[in-house]
Structures are given as structure tokens and as C-alpha cells.
Amino acid sequence: MSNITNQSLSEILESIKSKKISSLELTQAYIKNIENAKKLNAFVTTTFDQALEYAKKFDNKPNNEQLLSGIPLAVKDLFCTENVKTTAGSNILNNFIPSYESTVTKNLWNNGAFLLGKLNCDEFAMGSSNETSFFGNVINPIGDHLVPGGSSGGSSSALAADLTPATIGTDTGGSIRQPASFTGTVGLKPTYGLCSRWGIVAFASSLDQAGPMTKTVNDCSIMLEAMSGFDDKDSTSINKKKETYSKNLKDNIKGLKIGIPKEYRVDNMPKEIDELWEKGKKILKDLGAQLIDISLPHTKYALPTYYIVAPAEASSNLARYDGVRYGYRSQKGKDLIEMYENTRSEGFGDEVKRRILIGTYVLSSGYYDAYYLKAQKVRQLIKKDFDDSFTKVDAILTPSTPSSAFKIGEKTNDPVSMYLNDIFTVPVNLAGLPALSLPAGLDKQGYPLGLQLIGKALDEQKILNIGYAFEKNCGYKNEIKKWWS
């Protein structure tokens, strides 16, 4: 029982169903872990009392028919949670308590889970290291000097440190897959529109997508099944029949065609990333998959395109944080304009301001055509590259990130090098496709590295299946010493 929190979500679910452990015991075990892990700074808010109460209620009248029966979950602090403070990692929402629950979290609770706490993240999900959070940086359990990735860094850290059995993040340009890769965990960015965006603090609307972060692929399929689904409150939500990903999970991938895009072999990529990729190819080949060289010629434009589209949308999405109706309001200033200026100057951090400025610039009259419009056109070309490839292959295998977890502070003053961390992940967001990051090995320092499987739109089942087979044959296991407790 003492090591229940080491286990995967599906193992824990079994223990709950077979009454080996009660929901209350499970919750208490996680609370203990969380209390011992304050050094990681993974949580912004904990909701222990309400979690314990819910666990007791569950134990009194267990309903084991649900996907997440009796499971306490911590979630990224970008999801609005009813009556629980939701900050998006920002001072400007430091005091914001929503009166509503995001569709995705509501789906989790409707499947039997309950809230354990809110996880730290980069401010408004803008960052790749969780260093832009108003609530301080999060530490990677892999090593006390390492970033956990971002923006879902609280989520990846908490998951890897056994502070939650599974979690959810959001992924606008890699914010699920990169932190998963940095912490040796599984992260899935679903097809754009598969999970409702309603109630998630928006960063870049045409790119944002919520997804699961878990210890195993099976866990990932369970979480995806629980959180996804059509929502008529989100106009970009896809109206389709709900799938049962976990029930349909298969490890037979014989005959599947796996594309290997040559453009993902970037200059100055560490040798170990290349070796990892080779290792991944070999595993899939040995499982009977067919490797096919493909080309995604516009890949090199993905990062600049992303850093026009995402800030443009963000500059508009973040206009609502003006101190008028909710959130932080500066007490300085003698008129409305000064109130705005002071509120937003004091409320937002540097990275958010940087992106608002970039976004405002690229949408400005006289620059719109050269930047935003052109970026939209390139975005179509990037999407077309994928469409063309998917007429030939079932999935695409790439590295998740160009490096393992970097040191805290290492890239803080070099935003471009920070942005380069998203080089393998952003094309997927621009194309709206699903992609799964799987832990695949360690670099020579012993830090985890991930591989990414990209699928066709709505082809989550296939990449989960490939990931499932891969996981069984890869032999990766996170060995984390709990140095913090």
C-alpha cells in the first residue's frame, strides 16, 4: 500500500475496484506525497479537504462502473474549476475564483474522478520551462537543477513525482509533449477539436488543445476517453461519436506504415537524439511496421509561423484581462487608460508582455499582410505536407524535443533558444493533428528523452496502439529518487 502512488492509473483503478485500497487511502497517500514535495513547487492550489470528502463519499457508495472511479486528480491551473482559484500561472488572475467548471474537467469528474489540486504552469501557458509562472518555477523530479518543461510543467513534475496518478495539460505548441519528454512520461495532444476548449483559459484559440499526461499509454487512453467529447459550447469542437480508446487498445502494429520525415533531422541536433530516433525506428520495425522515408518540406517554416499565429491570437485573447470585471486591478492611475496600463504592467509577466507585443505588432495595419496573413498561408502549406504524407503512411515518428531537460535559468535570457525547444512539436499544432510523446530512453546524463508519434486527424486510436506496442518493447522505466522528501 505504501507504494500505491508508484503505480500506473490503470493499476490503481484495479486496486480501487477490487477494494485493495479505498479512495480515501489513495487520496491520503497522494496528499502525503504532495506535502512532502513542496520543493518541487508543482502546486499552486491544493484542495485536500474537498478531495478527502469526495473520497469518503465514494467509499461509502462506490460506483466502479466509471472510467476514473474514485481517482483523485490534480490538473493544470489553466482549467477553470468551480469555486477553486484558477490563476493560469499569472498575477492578473491571482485572485480569480471561477463560478464554472471547464468542460474537460467536468468530464473527468463525471467519470468518477475528483480534484486534488491545481498545478503550476507557465503564465498563460506561455513558456517551455515553467519559469514564467508568477508562482515561481517548478522543479523537475529528475534533478533539482532541471526544468520540468513547459508550459504544463507542474503537471509533468507532479506526475513524475507521484503527486497525482495522472493529469491533464494543454498543448498549444508542445506544452504537453515537451514536459512529458523531459520527465519520462506519456503526453498526448489530441486532434484539435477533440477536447472542448470551453472553460480553459485561452492562449491561442486555433492551436490550444487539452490532453492527458500519464505514466503509461494505457492510462493515456483511459484519460483521453474520459476527457474528450463533443461540446456545443465550443464552436470548434468536433461532433463525432465518442470512442472507447482503452477497450480498443491493441499492440499489434504489423504492416503499419511509419513515416520518417527527413526534415526533422535538424542542424546541431545532439547525437543522442538521433540515436534515440534510430532506436525507435528499430523497435517499430521489429514489431512488423514498415518504415517509409517521407518529406514535410515546409517544416522549417513551422516555428516562425507559430510565433506569429500564437502571439497574434494571444494578444487579442488576453485583452480581457483589464482589471475592470475580475482579476487583479492596480490601485494606481487616475483614469481608465492609466488603470489599464498599470493593471496590465503589474499583472502580466515579461514573457506574456513580449508575446502580446509581438502579437499586436503582427496584426497592425501595414504589417498584417506580411506577417499574419503570410503565416496563415504557410500554415496551410504545413498542413498540406501532412495531408500528403498521410496518404502514404499511418503515422509519423519523430523525436519529441531537440534536447533533454535543460537547467533552470539556462535559457531565461534567450527567448529564441527557448522557442527552439518547440521545433518538433509546433508543426502538429499548426496542422491540428494528434501526437503522442513517449518516453524512449535516456541521454548520457541520464535524463529522459521522448519520441513523438504523429497521427492523422482523429486517428488517436492508431497512435495509441503504436505507442502501446512501443512501450511494451522499449523497456523504458522512470527511476526517480525522491530526493525532495
Binding site: K233, T236, S316, A319
Partner: protein
């Protein structure tokens, strides 16, 4: 009918100027809920009582298009003989203001739902076509209230998110009168369609007015100024008048006109600079990523077209054909759907032409007097038709009819009943009339002699006597005939 000549020009020392006007009319869509949220759109609720999380732009809230508002825009477009675009896009217009919760207004910029159309105006100098540039859907903002507290501004978001149709005209208007006719015509069309109530007091219809002047004969337009948010036709006309004269004065003085946005001060009756072109907002329009492009099936447009009510221009033609009205009468009677409905009900039951005359005369005067609309007229269409029929059949005279009408207004009673109970029926029995007239002639022998000697003016005196004796009930036509006959003899 003799046509007047168009004559709205401004005469300067250096020449004669014409005024060029284009309007951006903001018409509030008639719908139960807002453009992108389920909040009610009812007018007059307490402040901030009709505000959803979406209208107040809480984090994570997303807009969902209200299908009814889209249909209303299509209907309006069809009513303006305009092209409906199967593909349109919602854009964000970004600017900061306390009553704009999102920090942007969702509007349509490059791809509006409705394209070019036209509106026909009936002017004293003939009919004139005004081109419509486009119609697009957008959200209204909230309301800032600056006068409730000396140091604070209060914000009411009830209006925030309500659907507006912005109807942009081409610069085809040339005078305040044409602006008046144009707004009224738009209003009539939308009220027929049920797409906007056109209530200017409640702000359901407001306009930005673009004014420029040029010398008569010039091909190029002058520099225009935009007068923002004028909410009554009278103010629009006053603003145009002032602004056009201001611009002419500048030109006469050899000065240039700055392209700028101006405000109309209703107290001082003048326009004032609000911001120059250099200070113009950069709205940073871009497609709203929260909303998919609006793709309309042709079938939806066709179905809406089929279900459109008869529109004023068509109805006017029909009234002329079917009821034998002249253009002026038809125009007045189709100006409101309710009026046209009332008229048709009356015309079905009585004399069509006489009904029109009486409606446009006594009925309208009375309604106007009492500040009532046709829909809450104290006289029902059926009773009014009976009154018209009683006149037509000669049962009562026009003069008596006016009395009956008065009583109908007070009591709401049926005219037959009033005529009956008050004995107001016209005396149309020739024998009785002849007897009465003979008595009068006998009593006034001297006057009869004078008449016969050539003083024919006295005929009116005899008629007066008959009316006096009959209590006004003598059939005037018959009285005339008998009098003439007996005076000859």
C-alpha cells in the same frame, strides 16, 4: 402629379456645392437572445441583469453563433434585394474600453454575410435608388454611465453582445430629406420583415453619418467626415446640415477638410472633432479563431426567401393595382405593416378609395392626436369599415360621420349601433324632404323671390335651413336636387 425639382445645394461665393452622404446604420436584430450567448435581449431590465459569463468575457468563455440572428440578417439582406454570401467570416475588432469586456468586438470585416443591394426611395422629385454596400453582423458593446458618480464610471453590460446589423449605404444620398426617407424606408422594410423593431428611442436604430461636399459637376468626392452614433433622424439631419455648411465654409476660405471622426452635440447643434485620421484606432482585425467561418446552405437562403412577407415596394404596387389608390396614398398606407394590414381589412369590407381617404384623414389625425399607433387604435378595422360603408351607402352624411367617428373613439362602439340609437340616420326619403323644403320656401318667400331674381348665392342659405331643420341629417345630395327643382318651379 407635378414633380418638384431636387434643390438641396449650398451656395458659396466660389460655386454651388452638393452634399454627399453615406450612412452606416446599426440596427439591433430582433431576437430573444444575444449574438453569441443565451442572455436575454429585452430592453429595460435592471443594469447587468442580462449578462452571461460570455457577455462579460470571463476566462475560457467561448462564443457560439445564434442561428436566429443569422437568419434575421439573411432576411434583411433579402429585403434589401442584396446578395447573400454563402461564406462569411467573423473577425475580431480589437480595442480597449471599459464597456467592451472582451477587449474586442466580434464583427465581420472582409467577408460580410450580405453583399450589395439597393433601396428605393420615393422623393417628391421622383423615385431614387440608394445602393447598399454591405450588411454585416456584429456585437453591440455595453454602456458606460459617467454621470452617476463624480469620480467613477459605471458599466451596464445588458447590451453587451446583442446582435447588430451594420447596414452600409453607398454614398448615394444627397440631402437631409433623402436621409430621412432612407432611414424610414430601411425601418419599414425591417419592420415588415420582423428583423428590427426600428425603435430609435431605445437605441435599436442608430447611424454613423459620412458627409462630404463637392462642387456641383465634380466627379471626385470631397474629403469626408464621419459623425458618430447619431440616434434620431432629426439629429442626423441637423448634423448633416451643420457639417455640410462647415465644410463648405472651409473650402470657401481656401482651407482643407481633415478626414476625421466627429461627434454631434445635440445641445449646441454642432459637430465637434473627436479624433483625426492620425489618431484613428488600429483595430487589428483578424478572423476570430473561436468561430468557424459561417457557411450557408443555398437551401436555407432559398427557404427564407420563400417565407418572406410581402415587402413595402411590392405591396405599394399591389395597392395601386388592386385598390385603385394613387401612388401617394399607397405610399402612406404601406409605410407600416400594421397600417397596411388595417387598411386591407377595411378595404375588404368597404369602399376601397373612401376607406383610404378616411384612414389617412380622420383616423390618422385622431391617432396622432392621442399618441396612439394603429395597432392600439380605439376603432377596430371592422367598425371602421362599417362607418365607411355607411357613408358610401348614403346612410349618413360625411358631417354626421365625423360625429359618429368621435363617438366611436370614445366608446369603441359599432357605428350602426351609434347611428341607430342616436337617430343619426340620414334623411333620404324624397317625399319627406320635399315636404320640409316646401315649408322652408313658404316661410322665406322674400328670399325665394330674390333667388329667382338672380341672387343665386342664396342657395346656400336654403341648404343651411334644411340642415338646421333636419338636425344635419338631410341627405345633402338629395337636398340639393329637390331644392333646385322646387326653386325653378
Amino acid at each position: 402629379m407635378s414633380k418638384e425639382k431636387f434643390d438641396y445645394f449650398i451656395n458659396g461665393e466660389k460655386g454651388k456645392y452638393e452634399v454627399v452622404i453615406g450612412l452606416e446604420v446599426h440596427a439591433q436584430v430582433l431576437s430573444n437572445s444575444k449574438l453569441f450567448s443565451g442572455s436575454s435581449t429585452k430592453f429595460g431590465a435592471d443594469p447587468n441583469k442580462q449578462v452571461s459569463l460570455i457577455d462579460s468575457a470571463f476566462p475560457g468563455m467561448l462564443p457560439v453563433i445564434n442561428e436566429e440572428c443569422v437568419k434575421q440578417a439573411i432576411r434583411t439582406g433579402l429585403g434589401l434585394n442584396a446578395k447573400i454570401n454563402n461564406y462569411s467570416v467573423f473577425d475580431r475588432k480589437n480595442y480597449f474600453y471599459a464597456d467592451l469586456p472582451q477587449g474586442y468586438q466580434i464583427s465581420q470585416y472582409k467577408n460580410p454575410i450580405v453583399g450589395e443591394g439597393k433601396v428605393l426611395l420615393d422623393m417628391p422629385y421622383g423615385s431614387k435608388e440608394i445602393g447598399i454596400e454591405r450588411l454585416h453582423l456584429e456585437q453591440d458593446a455595453g454602456k458606460s454611465i459617467h454621470d452617476m458618480d463624480p469620480s467613477s464610471t459605471y458599466v451596464d453590460l445588458n447590451r453587451s453582445g446583442i446582435a447588430l446589423m451594420e447596414i452600409v449605404s453607398k454614398p448615394h444620398l444627397r440631402s437631409p430629406d433623402e436621409v430621412n426617407a432612407y432611414i424610414k424606408k430601411l425601418r419599414t422594410i425591417m419592420r415588415y420583415l420582423g428583423t428590427c423593431d426600428g425603435n430609435m428611442q431605445e437605441g435599436s436604430l442608430r447611424a454613423d453619418v459620412n458627409v462630404s461636399v463637392r462642387k456641383v459637376g465634380d466627379k471626385n468626392f470631397g474629403t469626408r467626415c464621419e459623425i458618430k452614433n447619431v440616434n434620431s433622424i432629426k439629429f442626423m439631419q441637423m448634423a448633416i446640415e451643420y457639417e455640410a455648411n462647415r465644410q463648405v465654409e472651409l473650402l470657401e476660405d481656401g482651407k482643407e477638410i481633415d478626414q476625421e471622426t466627429r461627434l454631434f452635440d445635440t445641445k449646441k447643434n454642432e459637430t465637434r472633432s473627436m479624433r483625426s485620421k492620425e489618431d484613428a484606432h488600429d483595430y487589428r482585425y483578424f478572423p476570430d479563431p473561436d468561430l468557424l467561418p459561417l457557411k450557408l446552405e443555398q437551401k436555407l437562403i432559398d427557404d427564407l426567401k420563400k417565407s418572406l412577407p410581402e415587402l413595402p415596394d411590392n405591396k405599394k404596387e399591389r395597392f395601386i393595382q388592386e385598390y385603385g389608390l394613387n401612388s401617394y396614398e399607397a405610399n402612406v398606407l404601406v409605410s407600416e405593416k400594421e397600417i397596411s394590414d388595417y387598411y386591407e381589412e377595411v378595404a375588404k369590407l368597404s369602399d376601397k378609395k373612401l376607406a383610404a381617404t378616411w384612414m389617412m384623414g380622420d383616423l390618422f389625425a385622431m391617432l396622432n392626436d392621442k399618441g396612439l399607433n394603429i395597432s392600439n387604435s380605439p376603432i377596430s378595422a371592422k367598425n371602421f369599415a362599417e362607418l365607411v360603408q355607411s357613408i358610401k351607402s348614403g346612410e349618413i352624411s360625411g358631417r354626421i360621420a365625423k360625429e359618429v367617428f368621435e363617438i366611436m373613439v370614445e366608446s369603441g362602439d359599432n357605428p350602426k349601433k351609434i347611428i341607430e340609437s342616436k337617430g343619426m340616420k340620414q334623411q333620404s326619403d324624397p317625399k319627406q324632404l320635399e315636404k320640409m323644403i316646401n315649408e322652408i320656401l313658404l316661410k322665406n318667400k322674400d328670399k325665394v323671390d330674390q333667388y329667382k331674381a338672380g341672387k343665386e348665392k342664396l342657395f346656400g342659405f336654403f341648404v343651411g335651413q334644411v340642415m338646421k331643420l333636419s338636425g344635419g341629417k338631410a341627405n345633402p345630395q338629395l337636398t340639393n336636387e329637390i331644392l333646385k327643382k322646387l326653386l325653378k318651379g
